[in-house]
């Protein structure tokens, strides 16, 4: 039987199906691991309620565990505590940026709603601050669509949530 630490290491090798450069652990989707006899229970939480990747993630966990010889797996969907982008660590944010997705700010530092000032999202490609919001709703539920007015490239911004 594998230890909790070993289970976490396996989970760390499973990429998010839509953003392949970070793992489901780095994204904060895998929340908890419990070992009950010969059964491994993994608790996962969705980024957004309707995230269509949850089924794929469940499938990926089962498949990876089977490869590792873990036969009895239970995957529980939990909703509390509510997922937040604050769970994405600095290392993962760097990976997102290198991949071309502007990483989220800390939710606590997002004062744009209170101050009414527009939030500046630097372009992940050229670093320019001259960017504009094209749409609050991007290629996936968790991202917004921006455009850089310096290098003229469109890019995804991982919404602060």
């Amino acid at each position: 039987m594998k230890s909790k630490e070993e289970i976490w290491s396996i989970l760390e090798t499973i990429p998010d199906p839509e953003i392949q450069v970070i793992s489901i652990v780095e994204l904060g989707i895998a929340r908890d691991v419990q070992i009950e006899g010969d059964k491994v229970v993994v608790c996962i939480t969705p980024t957004y309620s309707g995230c269509p990747a949850m089924d794929a993630i469940t499938h990926d966990i089962r498949e990876k565990f089977a490869e590792e010889g873990i036969k009895n797996t239970e995957i529980k969907m939990i909703y509390s505590p509510v997922w937040t982008t604050d769970w994405i660590g600095e290392e993962a944010k760097k990976k997102l940026k290198a991949y071309g997705i502007a990483p989220p700010d800390k939710t606590s530092t997002d004062k744009s709603l209170i101050t009414g000032k527009k939030k500046i999202i630097p372009c992940p490609r050229c670093g320019s601050d001259k960017t504009i919001l094209v749409s609050q709703f991007g290629s996936t539920a968790c991202k917004a669509l921006y455009k850089c007015e310096e290098c003229l490239e469109p890019f995804d911004y991982f919404k602060c949530h």
Binding site: Y48, S49, G50, S80, V82, F137, A141, L145
Partner: protein, 253 residues
């Protein structure tokens, strides 16, 4: 007399059916949005709604205790068993009507979920917190469009006002309280809709004033969602939404 658990089942159906039907309506825009970004926005909002519906209906099934899944509840109940708010089943018509419907319901959900977060029922409180984060985006998005329609061209303003004539009469239904609401408010499980109505009015007035439009005069308010009495539109939505599951029960892919 219903007991608390029966009231809670009824309440969860309402919480699930409202986003389910709204999500289904919004999905009709897929591939038909006025611009690409709006097509994506409306289907994103639809996806949030369907996700919320799934969670609330799954919980409804657990409360009922008859092994009914979210799919059983979505696909194998008839029109009179649906508890969605009447406004959600109203047709998309043009983009102005879709956005006004979205605004009126998002303003409601914004305050409703904020209140439901304080529910004594831990599952409802967690789902409300999750849903609120998403609804805030929907509220902001639809508010911006209302301001553009109101302050835009004669055409955009006319379309917005026509939509108002069609939809305003369904807003009263959002705040109807029956014995289920009253019982669960007493148990500190449900949100008190009288309180939500005051907050909703304030939010709506604020955005309407920025859009340069007046609050509509008092009209006769339609009601009936609490008892499953719907407008003629719901049957058509269900026919489309349920046909596959009913023709091929247990189908999977």
């Amino acid at each position: 007399m219903k007991n608390t658990s029966e009231h809670l089942f009824e309440y969860c159906l309402r919480l699930g059916d409202t986003p389910l039907i709204l999500g289904q309506r919004l999905a009709e825009w897929c591939g038909h949005g006025p611009i690409l970004e709006e097509d994506i926005a409306m289907t994103n909002i639809s996806l949030d709604c369907i996700g919320q519906a799934r969670a609330f209906l799954t919980y409804a099934g657990e409360i009922e205790g008859k092994d009914r899944t979210e799919d059983d509840l979505a696909y194998f109940r008839n029109e009179r068993e649906f508890r969605n708010l009447l406004i959600t089943e109203q047709p998309n018509e043009d983009f102005a009507q879709t956005m006004l419907r979205q605004f009126l319901i998002s303003a409601f959900h914004k305050h409703f979920y904020s209140e439901l977060m304080r529910s004594a029922d831990k599952t409802l409180s967690a789902l409300a917190e999750k849903s609120l984060k998403e609804v805030n985006y929907h509220f902001r998005h639809s508010s911006e469009w209302l301001k553009r329609f109101g302050n835009g061209t004669e055409e955009s303003r006319t379309r917005l006002m026509n939509a108002m004539d069609n939809l305003w009469r369904y807003t009263g239904d959002m705040f109807d309280m029956d014995e289920t609401d009253k019982h669960l408010v007493e148990c500190k499980i449900a949100a008190d809709l009288d309180k939500i109505k005051t907050l909703w009015n304030k939010s709506v007035e604020e955005v309407f004033s920025e859009a340069g439009i007046d609050m509509p005069k008092d009209v006769f308010m339609m009601s009936g969602s609490r008892k499953g009495k719907h407008t003629e539109h719901l049957g058509h939505i269900l026919a489309e939404m349920q046909s596959l599951a009913r023709s091929f029960p247990g189908a999977s892919w």
